[in-house]
């Protein structure tokens, strides 16, 4: 990717590098920030700002299976609130929490651009669309719950 950027675009590499670090480790640690700041030659504060600004970056570990349920309008009109309640109940955690065994994390998120196939639940990177409590049960079973 770097060779396709124009020269002098090191700063632009902050987001792709953080994404890559997170793909490997699952979250971004202090040591990663120091290493990235040195490698790209950008100020540490810029990396900290980026990490706190964007919702997808994480500074702490989360569950291996991350369920993100959309709570925006189109999903709510098609039953997202029941889907989120069902997930709460089945996992025994609130949005923003991780199960004690460190396996499951639940989040609510804003529009994922999947309104035509609402409601949508994202499992790690993959969209699962047209969710209902029944279909959720099937999905959770396949994931080992």
């Amino acid at each position: 990717m770097r060779r396709r950027f124009p020269g002098g675009f090191e700063s632009s590499l902050v987001l792709p590098c953080l994404r890559r670090i997170q793909e490997d480790r699952g979250w971004v640690a202090d040591a990663d920030i120091d290493a990235l700041a040195a490698w790209l030659g950008v100020p540490r504060v810029q990396i900290e700002e980026v990490l706190s600004f964007y919702t997808q970056f994480r500074r702490a570990p989360i569950g291996r299976i991350h369920l993100q349920a959309c709570r925006n309008l189109s999903c709510c009109l098609r039953g997202a609130e029941s889907v989120i309640d069902h997930l709460r109940e089945r996992l025994g955690i609130e949005p923003g929490q991780t199960t004690r065994d460190g396996r499951w994390s639940l989040s609510t998120v804003e529009c994922l651009g999947s309104c035509g196939t609402a409601p949508v639940v994202m499992v790690n990177e993959t969209y699962h669309e047209r969710m209902t409590p029944e279909r959720l049960d099937g999905l959770l079973e396949r994931l080992g719950r």
Binding site: M1, R4, F5, P6, G8, F9, S11, S12, L13, V14, L15, P16, L18, R19, V42, Q46, E49, V50, F53, Y54, T55, Q56, F57, R71, N72, L73, S74, C76, L77, R78, G79, E81, S82, V109, E110, C111, L112, G113, S114, C115, G116, T117, A118, M122, E125, T126, Y127
Partner: protein, 441 residues
């Protein structure tokens, strides 16, 4: 049928997004012809003559945006496709990224030639996984086949294209916020002037166009501006991809020729309201456009002039259908929660105002609303209008004022009685259950 198709004019199959399939449909022939026979300014002239309006929401003429770029000014120019589709209710660009990625690449290469761009970008929202895999895969195919990189189609033209992934932020869909993000920083929108076409990415002239706008370029250049203008209306030439969702029988992405009857589109092409329920209202172009009642849409056609004449806008084409019986107070609660969550915090009226609006609607829903709350929401909306760097503060206000103007009684009822005028639901009532209930009591 919803009129002429310019983008969704082929059958979607498991392989229709590949380079081979695109070539078989005549793909990249226009780029080759442009590079061999046209001068950059001729391409821009054709695009300007087509009258194509931006499809991201603001409907700014693309030709005028391009016209600001001065060729041969001895500095780099950049081009960026805005694929940060995040306006709730909008999922049309996703269709192009997933099904016609090469159409976007060919169109971007033509645009890059016209604007003397050496480096172009597709800024795609971080949550999009399949769309990212499709466009990134298509870029690799295009490089391998010589449609990107050095010496494209055996000419001296060179173009590098980077697919850049966002990381979860609504304001990055705003063009200047997008460029801040593309520079590897938080996605703060910037004050204009200077326009981005004067000082954009790394302070260089930059054109940011919506994915759908760019996807139209290859067709416009291939068939000519005159042919393009034969489709649609005089003021809104061409077509619009409308993504429709909510309480509608057949949600999805539809290509609609501008000027097509609004109510017929909802009722016939999309199958009407879910389960045969009555239509309460429609949000026509993303949640930031003002809500239109069932009666409002009857005389309208799907083009910018018509929808604007009703006090709303066609915006990004993200249409949300809302059935009778839906609680508009709860609906506004979802919207202001979203705006509060997504305010980037740079401008005080938006940062504070979104929080105030969110808390006021929350307390109404909690049964603790105060008589002055409705006017307070309107006052905050008005105070935001035009006082923030980007349009998000304005947009939240439009949505709020629009809902209150048409459904004030629902707010008054909840404040007075501590409960919804309806049953507080957003999910459509299960019609079969409701019918059985009516039959058997």
């Amino acid at each position: 049928m919803t009129g002429t198709k310019l983008l969704m004019d082929f059958e979607v199959t498991p392989t229709s997004h590949t380079l081979a399939a695109y070539r078989a449909r005549g793909g990249y022939a226009t780029l080759e012809k442009v590079l061999r026979t046209l001068r950059p300014e001729e391409v821009t002239k054709e695009v300007a003559a087509s009258g194509i309006l931006g499809h991201g929401g603001a409907a700014f003429p693309a030709g005028r945006k391009w016209g600001v770029i001065r060729l041969n000014d001895e500095q780099p120019h950049y081009l960026c496709a805005n694929a940060d589709e995040g306006e709730p209710g909008t999922f049309k660009d996703r269709w192009i990224l997933e099904h016609a990625p090469h159409l976007l690449i060919e169109s971007m290469a033509i645009a890059a030639f016209a604007l003397q761009v050496r480096h172009a970008f597709v800024y795609i929202r971080g949550e999009f996984d399949l769309p990212w895999r499709r466009i990134a895969g298509a870029v690799e195919e295009a490089y391998a086949a010589g449609w990107l990189g050095e010496g494209i189609a055996g000419t001296g033209f060179a173009l590098d294209l980077v697919v850049y992934r966002g990381a979860g932020s609504y304001v990055c869909g705003e063009a200047s916020g997008l460029l801040s993000s593309l520079e590897g920083r938080k996605g703060y929108p910037r004050n204009r002037p200077p326009r981005l076409t004067v000082r954009g990415l790394y302070q260089r002239p930059t054109v940011v166009n919506n994915v759908e706008t760019l996807a139209n370029i290859a067709g416009i250049v291939r068939d000519g501006a005159v042919a393009f203008r034969k489709v649609g209306t005089a003021k809104s030439p061409g077509t619009q991809l409308i993504s429709i969702s909510g309480h509608v029988e057949r949600p999805g992405v539809y290509e609609v020729e501008y000027g097509y009857p609004f109510a017929r589109f909802v009722r016939e092409d999309c199958g009407g309201v879910l389960g045969g329920l009555g239509l309460k209202c429609v949000i026509p172009g993303g949640i930031s456009t003002k809500v239109l009642t069932a009666a409002d849409i009857e005389p309208l056609t799907l083009d910018h002039a018509s929808v604007t004449s009703a006090g709303s806008g066609l915006g990004s084409g993200g249409m949300v259908v809302i059935a009778e019986g839906t609680c508009m107070v709860r609906l506004l609660q979802v919207l202001v929660r979203f705006y509060h969550h997504e305010s980037c915090g740079q401008c005080t009226p938006c940062r504070e105002g979104m929080g105030w609006m969110h808390r006021i609607v929350d307390r109404i829903v909690a049964g603790k609303g105060e008589p002055g709350d409705i006017d307070r929401l309107i006052a905050i909306s008005n105070a935001n209008d035009g006082t923030t760097i980007c349009g998000m503060g304005d947009a939240a206000g439009y949505a709020t004022v629009g809902i209150i103007a048409k459904y004030r009684d629902e707010f008054e009822h909840w404040i007075r009685h501590g409960r919804s005028l309806h049953d507080g639901r957003l999910e459509a009532i299960d019609h079969e259950w409701a019918r059985a209930e009516a039959l058997h009591g």
